[in-house]
């Protein structure tokens, strides 16, 4: 077998599908259609069912929900009369070529994906105008073409981003794209009158949320060409409104996106009998699960969906610029209760291509939750999960398949269970089976 073919196939399939995005209203469409189908079954009334999947609507931000338009679309009217700028603005033949590429939607034959077409019934209003024509830092002659369009739902300004070749990299309509990748390493952003920042690095907050490290976008001649540094995955580049409270809604849409960002690595600690499913590990106080309720409850083993809801609800609500949650099949959950009676549930999550971190959610009987995150998990660690809980509630530790024990100082070792355990706050060392001790700090 030729491993090179496999690698190239992987890369090819990812590139081929990079512009494929599902509609942001898919869940609602499924729900509505399913409910309507149920109703139809009951009353046998033929009703046309609308399918709301949207094809080729461009690229959604990697944060998930569609980002807002950077500025009101009406403000783009001013782009139509802005003088052509850029170091190639004086080249009439080049300007003509860019207009042709824009109008014909020229794509390189070796490119994957397609530029979404204008909505059916769209008519051009006036002539295309070249807003910018210039050479990028990487030496690609590029440009921006704007065109007023009348669509069945109103008038929009289309912004065509032309890359080296030349070819049409993407078209933004109504300000739905804040920037477009001309290549894997260059992002072209049009100055639409709003301050923007970009980022390809981030830091973790103590509670586990992520903050982007932002750099202001500096426009020149009406555009900015941002060069992704060598060694940086272009999929990790984000364009945002600067400042403000953290939130994934700050992420703005990018066109011709080279990828979905690097994938993080998680602890592969799931593994039901079928290879999927989850591992559910009770630790101290596990009889607090499910949450205290009817006295008639007989089964105190929580269902995975209860743990999932208890965990992902608070984690999803974290103030964070990049999502730190996600679905995967290899999940594990440790659950139990802290000495002060709060329910505990934990697993590890990988965000933004980073090594995963353990996240612990504590919830009191009033439903108030706090999230605590551990540091980056080392793949080779004997006890990979070691999280100090807040308010002196001890340490959550976990190592799949291992007998865990702990001690304080040079005292005797105390066994603490298998897979996961809740250790007292005074513990200073933990070990898995007979491995060397791991300090808790």
């Amino acid at each position: 077998m030729n491993p090179k073919i496999e690698d190239e196939l992987r890369a090819g399939l990812r590139a081929y599908t990079r512009d494929v995005t599902a509609s942001p209203v898919l869940a609602a469409a499924v729900r509505r259609r399913q409910r309507r189908r149920t109703r139809l079954t009951l009353v046998a009334v033929p009703v046309a069912v609308a399918v709301l999947l949207v094809a080729g609507t461009g690229v959604l931000p990697r944060g998930g929900a569609p980002g807002p338009a950077p500025v009101p679309a009406a403000a783009d009217e001013a782009l139509l009369t802005r003088p052509t700028e850029g170091d190639l603005a004086g080249r009439a033949d080049y300007l003509d070529a860019m207009v042709r590429v824009f109008l014909e939607g020229v794509r390189p034959r070796t490119a994957f994906g397609s530029v979404p077409a204008a909505p059916a019934g769209t008519e051009r209003v006036g002539e295309p105008h070249v807003l910018w024509a210039g050479m990028t830092p990487a030496g690609n002659p590029s440009g921006v073409v704007v065109q007023k369009e009348r669509t069945p739902t109103g008038t929009v300004i289309a912004i065509g981003y032309v890359g080296g070749g030349p070819y049409l990299a993407a078209v933004s309509r109504g300000g739905d794209l804040a920037g477009v990748f001309l290549s894997g390493q260059e992002l072209l952003v049009v100055d639409r009158g709003e301050p923007l920042a970009w980022s390809y690095r981030h830091t973790y907050e103590p509670g586990g949320g992520i903050r982007l490290i932002e750099t202001p976008v500096r426009f020149r001649d009406g555009v900015a060409v941002l060069t992704v540094p060598e060694g940086v995955d272009a999929g990790s580049v984000e364009l945002v409104r600067p400042g403000g409270p953290p939130g994934t809604s700050r992420l703005l849409r990018l066109g011709n996106d080279p990828g979905t960002g690097p994938a993080g690595v998680r602890l592969a600690w799931g593994g039901g009998r079928d290879g999927f499913g989850e591992s559910l590990w009770p630790v101290a106080g596990a009889d607090r699960w499910p949450d205290p309720g009817p006295a008639t409850r007989e089964d105190y083993t929580p269902r995975r969906d209860q743990l999932r809801a208890a965990f992902h609800g608070p984690v999803d609500a974290l103030p964070t610029d990049l999502p730190v949650t996600g679905w995967a099949e290899d999940l594990w959950y440790a659950y139990g209760a802290t000495p002060d009676g709060r329910r505990l549930v934990a697993t590890d999550l990988a965000a933004a291509g980073d090594p995963s971190r353990a996240y612990v959610v504590l919830t009191d009987d009033a439903g108030r939750s706090t999230v605590t995150a551990g540091g980056p998990i080392g793949r080779g660690d004997s006890v990979p999960v070691r999280v100090r809980l807040p308010d002196g509630q001890g340490w959550l530790v976990a190592a799949k398949g291992s007998a865990l024990s702990w001690r304080t100082g040079t005292g005797p070792w105390t066994t603490a269970g298998t897979d996961a355990a809740l250790l007292p706050a005074t513990a200073t060392e933990v070990r898995a089976d007979t491995d060397p001790a791991t300090p808790l700090r």
Binding site: E6, L9, A15, T17, A22, L26, A29, G277, R308
Partner: protein, 170 residues
């Protein structure tokens, strides 16, 4: 009571990834891929609280539906994004690696549905062979042989490009 938030969260977070898989399983036919995914999600919504491992379930259901759909339809998939009959790469119009990947994808989209599904699940979704077998309702041995045959076909159809890669593999 149905976990509405859980379903919504799942669809928001995973639907794009699943749609990408569906597009490949459907041979590049975006419309059919959307139909496949919508059908699978409707079934999942109806039984949401009883589904363990929703992503695995969805991928299994997509693969099953895609293979059986195409077995039933007996038609060539539409290729809205790439034309498999198009000529070779344009000289100087892209790096050799891009040309090779392009050729591999073109070739994959023309494979028989079941063979294509094996390669998509194995090399796009990175599922282990056992899970590919489970998704397609066949043995691990069948998966191995289908993957081997599929890769051989891709290699054969892209051979002239592979030679042009820097540090070529042959």
């Amino acid at each position: 009571m149905r976990d509405e938030a859980g379903f919504t969260s799942f669809v928001h977070e995973r639907s794009t990834g699943l749609l990408r898989t569906a597009v490949l399983l459907a041979g590049g036919d975006r419309g059919h891929a959307e139909d496949l995914l919508q059908g699978v999600l409707e079934r999942m919504y109806a039984h949401w609280d009883r589904i363990d491992g929703p992503e695995a379930y969805a991928r299994r259901a997509l693969a099953h539906a895609a293979v059986n759909r195409w077995r039933t339809r007996r038609r060539r998939p539409e290729l809205p994004l790439l034309d498999p009959d198009a000529g070779g790469p344009v000289p100087g119009d892209g790096a050799a690696a891009v040309d090779l990947r392009d050729a591999l994808v073109r070739a994959l989209l023309t494979l028989p549905p079941r063979q294509r599904a094996v390669l998509v699940l194995r090399y796009f979704d990175d599922l282990p062979e056992a899970e590919v077998a489970r998704a397609l309702g066949c043995s691990v041995g069948t998966v191995k042989s289908a993957a081997s045959r599929g890769l051989a076909t891709l290699r054969e159809r892209s051979g002239h490009l592979e030679l042009s890669l820097p540090g070529g593999t042959r």
